[in-house]
Structures are given as structure tokens and as C-alpha cells.
Amino acid sequence: MAFNGMMSIDTSTAQPGGREALDRALVAIGAERDRAAFALVFRHFAPRLRAFMIRGGCDRGDAEEIVQDVMVTVWRRAETFDPRQASASTWIFTIARNRRIDRLRRERRPELDPNDPALVPDAPRSADQSLALSQDTRRLESAIATLPQEQRDILERAYYDEKPHSVIAEETGLPLGTVKSRLRLALGRLRKEVRDHG
């Protein structure tokens, strides 16, 4: 494990309006193979993805390689990005997560197929709910920044370190019940943020 220290969350650089610009850039890559839009997305996400990979246990060389793979995948799959379904950060998070599993654990990541004829369909969603997504991301970030430190620490271990509840309990020496309740409290707070204002 190269560098696995506590990394505090930095929201000071979040620019108002930046999220929608990233969503639009992804759409432009998909529709027009727009390289300027790709450079915008790259400059925003590549440093964060590198930090994400290093926090997950990659050395610098592996992290760089995986970040490049993720960004090439972003270019190739941009046409499948639907801003009504996900924000740019969420969409890229799922690509990065899967790539990390593939590279570090050499495992497949079984996923839902949205075109599966066996899929039991969603209840029809209101347009409001879909449109709220990119605002959600920004609100979520400020909510994460104001979580109590002990809850944020567990949330970081789950998402950045890719650790299941049981391993977090082992590593922190906390009782499993405490890990569970801190995550539950943190997620409850964040969910309230998404649902109440969505």
C-alpha cells in the first residue's frame, strides 16, 4: 500500500456552475467527439481519479495507467452518458470503480443490464427528479464536508479504500455495530439532502 493516510475532503475548489459544464462536456464528447470538451473533463477528473486510485492502494505508476484507461473509456463510452440518469461525477465514479476492481482484483464486476427483458421496470419518474441530479452532487458535497469527522472517516474508507463494513471494523478496531451505525447516520443525512431538496 503506497499511500493510505487520511485524506481530508477539499471542497474549496468547487466552482458554482462547474458541474453542469462537465455534464455538457460529456454530451459534446459523445455527440461530436469534441477534444476541447475532453480536455476540460480530463483536467477536472484526472487529478481526482489519481488520488482515488492511490488512496485505494495503487502505486503512482499503476494509478497513472488506470487513470489513463478510465479517461479513454470515458471517451469511448461518452455516447452512452445520459445527463438525465447520472451526473458526470457519478458516471465517471462508476467507471473508475469498475476499472479498479478489474485491475487490482482481476475480477469481473457483474452488473445490471438496463436492456434486460427480465428487468422489472421503474415506476414512471417525474422530470423534476431527473433534473435535480446535478444540483444534488453539489449539495451532497457540502453535506459531506459538514459530516462529523468520525462519520466522514468511515465513509472515506468505504468509498475510497473500497473496504466492506467488516474490514473497516477490523482496521479501525471499532465494533462492527459502530461502523454500521456511523455509516447509517452518514448516509441518512446525505439521503435527506438528496430527497428533501430533489
Binding site: 479513454v72 457483474p110 422489472v120 446525505l190
Partner: protein, 233 residues
């Protein structure tokens, strides 16, 4: 998670009432579940719009967590390297895929993805083994845990047992009942070492399940202890 009314979805699909649970769904969203657990969770997601919604929220948190990482200076050489890769022929765009029209039903059983891709197109071609009276099992080669399809014959009762670890059972056809309730297509029964359960298949049809056990299972009934070597689950 509150139980919701059993209702029919848009195309007649039943909505599950027994779910994955937030803890395991968070592990899945964060990428911390094994391939075996992920296979079962993703197959439940196909049948459960409610858990899909919950997963979408957890992935939204994942996106916000990614965005909240330090915004270091971008390495322009790295950007140039990737732009150069985009010029190569093998970096072809992926088109959105259209819904599949072909009939994917196997023996009249519509298995959800991603399970269908793991199991293939003919359940009868799988290597089924009779474990005990009323129970056939087919072990699937998936990493991370013991993964199997179980066919409990209609009306059959399983021996009482507990697990050293966690067992997740996803019902695919038919249904079973244990002390905690009834489980039908799409429902997930989560059983840990504290639950001593004895599932009984419903009377009218065989119950086909996907079961994932992350540690050995122990029989607890008086008369069934000798069966352990045969079950080896």
C-alpha cells in the same frame, strides 16, 4: 427498510418485498463485494426498482466523494498521452445498445441478467446434483464464495441449518417460506450465523434459487447432522 405493498410493475413484474439491505448495497456501490455477491446483488437489482433507486443514490454519493478529492494540478503530459491514444484505431466509440427483442426465456424461466450470462441458455444442461431428497444443486464457477443454483422440489422442507458466514438466497421461480416469512421471485433472504432456518418450498411448483454462501453451512437438526458430509455447503 419498510416493507412495501406487493404490487405489479408495469409489465406484470412483481415487486420484491425482501431486499438486499443498505449495508450490502453500499459495499456493492463502493466496489467492495466479491464477484459472487455482486452477481446475486445485480440479479436482484434487475427485479427490484426500489433497490435500483437506492443504488443510484449511493452511487451519487460515490460521485460526490470522487469530486471532493483534492483538486491537484493536472498533469498536461498525461493529457497529451491520452489524446495520442485516442488517435489510434482501436479506440472506437461504444454505441448505446438497443433493447434485446429475442426471447431469452429458458424452459419458460426468464432468468435476470447478469445471472443469465453466467448460466447459459439451458438449465437442463447444467451439472445438477441431488444433494438430499427434495434438493438439487448446481455449483457455478464464480470467485469469492460458494455460488449455486438450488432447486427445491415443490413442498419439500430443507434440513434445519445455520451458517458460519452469510448466505444470500435470491428466488428466481416459485417460492419458499421459513420462520421469517414468504419469499417469491425477486426476494432475497439474508441469513447469518444467528438465524437457524428451515425453508420449505411452496406447494405448487419447484423453487429455483440462486444461493451465495461466503462460509460453510452447518446443519443443526438432531437427525440431519450426518448429512453434512454430503451437503458440503
Amino acid at each position: 427498510m419498510g416493507e412495501i405493498e406487493r404490487t405489479l410493475g408495469g409489465d406484470g413484474g412483481r415487486l420484491p418485498v425482501h431486499h438486499i439491505g443498505e449495508e450490502l448495497l453500499l459495499d456493492y456501490a463502493a466496489g467492495a463485494t466479491s464477484e459472487a455477491m455482486s452477481l446475486l446483488i445485480a440479479s436482484h437489482l434487475a427485479l427490484c426498482p426500489m433497490c435500483r433507486q437506492q443504488l443510484a443514490e449511493l452511487e451519487l454519493v460515490g460521485g460526490a466523494m470522487l469530486d471532493a478529492l483534492p483538486d491537484d494540478e493536472c498533469d498536461e503530459a498525461s493529457l497529451d498521452a491520452v489524446l495520442a491514444r485516442l488517435d489510434r484505431d482501436d479506440v472506437t466509440p461504444v454505441q448505446p445498445t438497443a433493447p434485446v427483442a429475442a426471447d431469452p426465456a429458458v424452459d419458460g424461466i426468464l432468468l435476470p441478467e447478469p445471472l443469465r450470462s453466467y448460466v447459459g441458455s439451458d438449465l437442463n444442461k447444467l451439472g445438477w446434483k441431488r444433494r438430499i431428497r427434495g434438493l438439487d444443486e448446481c455449483v457455478l464457477p464464480v470467485g469469492g464464495a460458494r455460488v449455486s443454483l438450488m432447486r427445491i422440489h415443490q413442498g419439500a422442507s430443507m434440513p434445519k441449518h445455520t451458517h458460519a458466514g452469510n448466505e444470500l438466497t435470491l428466488v428466481l421461480t416459485g417460492g419458499f417460506t421459513d420462520a421469517r416469512g414468504s419469499y417469491l421471485r425477486g426476494d432475497v433472504a439474508v441469513t447469518d450465523q444467528h438465524v437457524d432456518h428451515q425453508p420449505t418450498a411452496d406447494l405448487d411448483e419447484d423453487c429455483l434459487c440462486l444461493a451465495v454462501v461466503d462460509a460453510p453451512l452447518r446443519l443443526t437438526g438432531r437427525m440431519t447432522r450426518f448429512l453434512n458430509p454430503f451437503l458440503r455447503i
